[in-house]
Point group: C2
Chain length 353, copies 2
């Protein structure tokens, strides 16, 4: 099965040529592929999403299977896709996820979509990259609750996986590093290009309506872009939640300070991406904001010291909805069946402590 | 998105013409499509799977979304696909499924693949058809734990669903009947044609190896086909588990008797399909048999009073593995986002009794 890679609509290039004189400040930008023509883009603090160039399709396919495979959990029912559901904007739309044994999570599951564009992974940035991140939930007792050793041993007993891992890595044994590398390779493909905002960035003036443009201007003028910038409209820095006014909610968790050990980093979090934000409700690290309107209102107040009027809030929300891009588009993976020696899932096993 | 309908390999028709004189007893059989040429098939107690003719693509697409949508559960994390996982042979490969609040299920989740070919649904056949079945798990407190009223009300608050339901049903309100009808329409497409056994049935003598043919002959000669017959190699009758020797395991559940009220139906179950049986482990109503070898051994003993030798068991298992067909092949559905009035999932709500 080949993955269809969404690319910036080729038509946009021609369109840009026609509209260049009306398009405000534009410049030539090299595309990721050297063989493609250069496209003119608007220079804005939010940058276009560029589709990744997949070089190792076999690794991506393997990673996709692993991402959907609940056998990486002790119960046999929780997969990466359980909390980062690719049918639902790459998240689970819960305040906090539910883990092994119906354990309530502590934090809102960040979307996996465009997560490759962030400076680090997890709300506190404790993983440098997606490969590091992938190992975390597998072994977390409140999430998939599987030891890494058992996860790898399970995969080694599944004939189809032995074959795929061999094909991709050419090593005698399956290792955790291979597992997380393959998952990360798949996750790297989970970008969502071609949103209406991207088309506008590429020079298509008709891609945004008046209200949406007004919202974007206000978003910039109010200072939202100070943190929500770059291709992911976020994910580029850690910021204290409640810069101007204190956050109304549980402020007891350490946030970034848990990683750095610095008191100055207390209650700092990685700025979440705003890409596909209309799909990734509820909002904030604790999922306390149910709607975009509520999230915009709270952000204005506690981060910028600003109260948006109803119309202003509506405008910003209208702009935010233009950040929904093309969802990853692939066939539901088929998982290789377990072998005779595959350890059975043990969802109800009581561990003696 | 159009669903690609797998059809009996067109090439098989030509092949059959070439091999007809070697193919044993064959006859002409009308295909489901009047416009297609007639194909010659072997007449056997296990019949070929014929791909369904989809007439209402919009309804199937809607049903596919609903099948994958965890918002049909109170927790917001359990969908039809959780227990009937279409990446894993249409089941969850657990002895018994895990429901709301991590509640252990009582019975092994039957595969949804080819379930449209069965005379009734559930192990005890208490639902006449897939549409009736679909309503059950949604409201079962130990499964999705959602009232039907809340499920329908939730869907009504989701703009994308309102639009899709209107397009498909043209009625003012979304109803449970529409929901289950759409899910059943999708499930009707979940057949798995084109297994090696089907190709052999169609006249391709090279489709089965010697051991597999030997296994099939023994399967017939031993009487397995008395129950495992028809296009699904099962699903055509209710049978007492432990006809010759008593079943070693919990025999306290009523089985079919719960539906008919007849004592003669105690511990009778719907004969499960053997299609894709290598993917649908563990086996039996309680998932007590981990491997095909074990299942074949137990069935031989307690249903047929026969002890298969190691070689015989191997042969039958080899045959059973030829019943794996083409998995349903479709793109991961994207679900419409919730609206501002969509009830939030309440995974941890304590209900006062």
């Amino acid at each position: 099965m080949k993955r269809k890679i969404p690319l910036l609509a080729a038509g946009a290039v021609a369109l840009v040529a026609a509209l260049a004189s009306h398009a405000g400040r534009i410049e030539d930008t090299a595309q990721q592929s050297g063989t493609r023509a250069k496209a003119a883009v608007r220079v804005e603090p939010i940058k276009p999403i560029v589709a990744p160039k997949v070089t190792n399709f076999a690794m991506v396919e393997l990673g996709k299977q692993l991402f959907f495979d609940p056998r990486l959990s002790k119960s046999g029912v929780i997969s990466c896709n359980s909390c980062h559901n690719l049918s639902m904007g790459g998240t689970d739309n819960l305040k906090a996820s539910i883990g092994h044994g119906w354990t309530p999570g502590q934090l809102n599951a960040p979307t996996v979509l465009n997560s490759s564009l962030a400076i680090a992974q997890f709300w506190d940035g404790r993983a440098d990259n997606l490969q590091q991140q992938a190992a975390g939930p597998i072994a977390n007792p409140a999430e998939m609750n599987m030891s890494h050793e058992l996860a790898v041993r399970t995969l080694e007993t599944i004939p189809g996986y032995r074959e795929s891992f061999w094909r991709v890595f050419r090593e005698d044994r399956i290792t955790l590093e291979q597992v997380t590398k393959a998952i990360a390779a798949f996750e790297n493909t989970l970008v969502t290009p071609n949103s209406r905002f991207d088309r506008w960035l590429a020079g298509d003036n008709r891609a945004l309506g008046e209200q949406e443009l007004r919202g974007y201007k206000l978003f910039k003028a109010s200072g939202c872009v100070a943190c929500h910038n770059g291709p992911a409209a976020g994910g580029t820095s850690f910021q204290k939640l409640g810069l101007v006014e204190p956050y109304k909610g549980d402020t007891s968790i350490p946030g970034r300070a848990a990683v750095t050990g610095k008191d100055a980093d207390r209650f700092k979090f990685k700025v979440p991406t705003l890409r596909n934000v209309e799909l990734t409700y509820p909002y904030f690290h604790d999922g306390s904001a149910k709607t975009l309107a509520e999230a915009v209102e709270v952000m204005g107040k506690i981060q910028l010291g600003r109260t948006f009027s109803k119309d202003e809030n509506d405008d910003i929300v209208a702009f935010l909805r233009t950040l929904t891009g093309d969802a990853p588009n692939f066939r539901l993976p088929q998982l290789p069946p377990s072998g005779p020696n595959t350890p059975e899932p043990t969802p109800f096993e009581v561990v003696k402590k």
